[in-house]
């Protein structure tokens, strides 16, 4: 029973991690809270849905396609709403991404309707019995893909030249520019990667919950923010671990707390407020391990 919940929690947490990594990457590189990140996730989920529905491609081709499409969306947001801003008003980028949030969400409601859209059966659900545990192919897929992406990202950021350039830009735009890093290009790349991860999370949410609405963006954006805070702003590894912690905490809160009132929603905000008050740098510290 507890082990079963642990697996559910890990699965939920892995999607939270993917969202939070996007937030934290963009925060690290630009010092910006990308308010529209949740809507990017929602857009990614819908793009994945239509790619699967129209082309009928199997998931292992459709998912990368959805990732690329969402990545491009992120890059467009950077080019249209972040880059043209003047530098003198420090709140401008945040407010501008709030504008993007409103546009994306309302457009989605007009295009797809305010109710849920059924997500196509992307994979055959097979249940494997491992001792007392019931593990579905969905569980394996989601955990596998998320962990794979996280490991790849970790090595990309810590070991490759471009990853090092990203960390330099996170330290200081001026210094990075002086050292010959193309800052604009790195920012663009960061938006692309962060959005692609959000798109992945969006498609996975579609697969797990079988339906998506234009409002999933806000829900998962808030969870992603809580996770980013747990992990510490700009801390990628913190976001990975933080997501798993929140996912498990949420699943266990449903099991252990009384169910007649909708506590799990307050639960994550409660965690967020407690962390904000007592340890605003997050459990793993801000920018301690920028990688």
């Amino acid at each position: 029973m507890i082990l079963q919940q642990l697996i559910n929690g890990l699965m939920l947490g892995a999607t939270y991690s993917l969202v939070a990594i996007g937030y934290t990457l963009i925060f690290g590189v630009l010092g910006l809270l990308h308010f529209a990140h949740g809507e990017v996730l929602m857009a990614g989920a819908f793009m994945g849905l239509y790619i699967i529905m129209w082309s009928g491609l199997p998931l292992y081709i459709a998912l990368p396609l959805a990732m690329v499409a969402t990545g491009v969306l992120g890059i467009i947001i950077d080019v249209l709403a972040i880059r043209p801003l003047k530098k003198d008003f420090h709140l401008a980028p945040l407010l501008s991404t709030i504008g993007v949030t409103i546009i994306l969400q309302n457009l989605a409601v007009k295009l797809f309707g305010g109710y849920g859209t059924r997500f196509p059966e992307a994979i055959e659900t097979v249940n494997y019995k491992v001792g007392p545990l019931l593990i579905s192919s969905t569980n394996i897929l989601i955990l596998g893909v998320s962990l794979f992406l996280m490991v790849v990202l970790y090595f990309f950021i810590t070991k490759t030249k471009v990853g090092k350039a990203m960390r330099t830009v996170a330290e200081s735009h001026t210094t990075a520019g002086l050292l010959g890093v193309n800052v604009d290009w790195i920012v663009l790349l960061t938006f692309g990667i962060a959005s692609a991860l959000a798109g992945t999370a969006g498609v996975m949410i579609g697969i797990v919950f079988h339906a998506i609405t234009p409002f999933i963006g806000l829900t998962f954006a808030l969870k992603g923010l809580v996770v980013m805070l747990i992990g510490g702003l700009g801390n990628v590894v913190g976001a990975m671990i933080g997501g798993l912690i929140l996912g498990m905490a949420e699943v266990f809160s449903i099991v252990l707390l009384p169910t007649e009132i909708n506590l799990q929603d307050i639960f994550s905000f409660g965690i967020m407020i407690i962390i904000l008050i007592f340890k605003p740098t997050g459990l793993f510290g801000t920018r301690v391990t920028q990688g």
Binding site: L33, L94, G99, I102, I103, N106, L218, L229, N262, I277
Partner: protein, 285 residues
Amino acid sequence: MDYLISVATIAGIYIIMALSFYMPFMTGQISLGQAGFMAIGAYVSAICTVKWGIPYVPAVLLGGIFAGIVGLILGLPALRIKGIYLLLLTLGFGEIVRVVAINLKYTGAAEGFPGIPYQKYTLLYAYGMVLILIIFFSRLRRSRMGRAFQAVGSDEDAAEIIGVNIVSAKLLAFSVGAFMAGIGGGIFAHYQEYVEPLMFDIMHAIEFLIFTIFGGIQIFWGPIFGALALTFIPEFLRAIQEWRMELYGALLIVMMIIRPQGVIGLDTVRALDRLFRNALGKEWA
């Protein structure tokens, strides 16, 4: 005519809400919890009139005071944190208020709280409140406290060095802003005759932010202008009405690119002032 009055009334309530966002914003605090404070004001005042039979004016005031107290409590931890941390704290707070309202059986939970007595003179009360706020803000601008607020808003460290008590300045601005939002909520509840948690979601908090940012953030006329313009223009251009939110979003981005200080800046106010002086001659001054 009735229609015009109803639009004007809503615009008046939105002016109060935009000013309630502007108040903490003066000290550099961005609050996405104003819809939450509005909800507190609306629910508390509605409980006062419906369940306890308290008259309208004290009920609305009680709603405002209660929201102000909650703002004070929320503001205490908010002092330690700033920037995006504060934004996240107020965002979480707004959501918690909404979730509590959805689950609270006493006020009808998710179905909403019906049967709130209708206030016929809402228009007068709303604009009376706006007038009080205009007087308040114009006096505040020239006062010691107001200058302290502006100092904290433009550079917190510098303000602290020259001896401004930034703790009390920020806390005061935050809880007074919450009080204003609570009053706005009380007036709103007794105009709509019923409230439901959906009326106070995060998108509404963002709407109040847009009124302020679009109107202008350098002087209190900005939020007033923003709330009026963005309530009236979509009402009379039906084509815009349907795409209102998308336009708000685009407007926000465009404003950030071309005029981050908003439509009404200090330069606009000075230009208008000069215009009036020239038109009315020396006696005006």
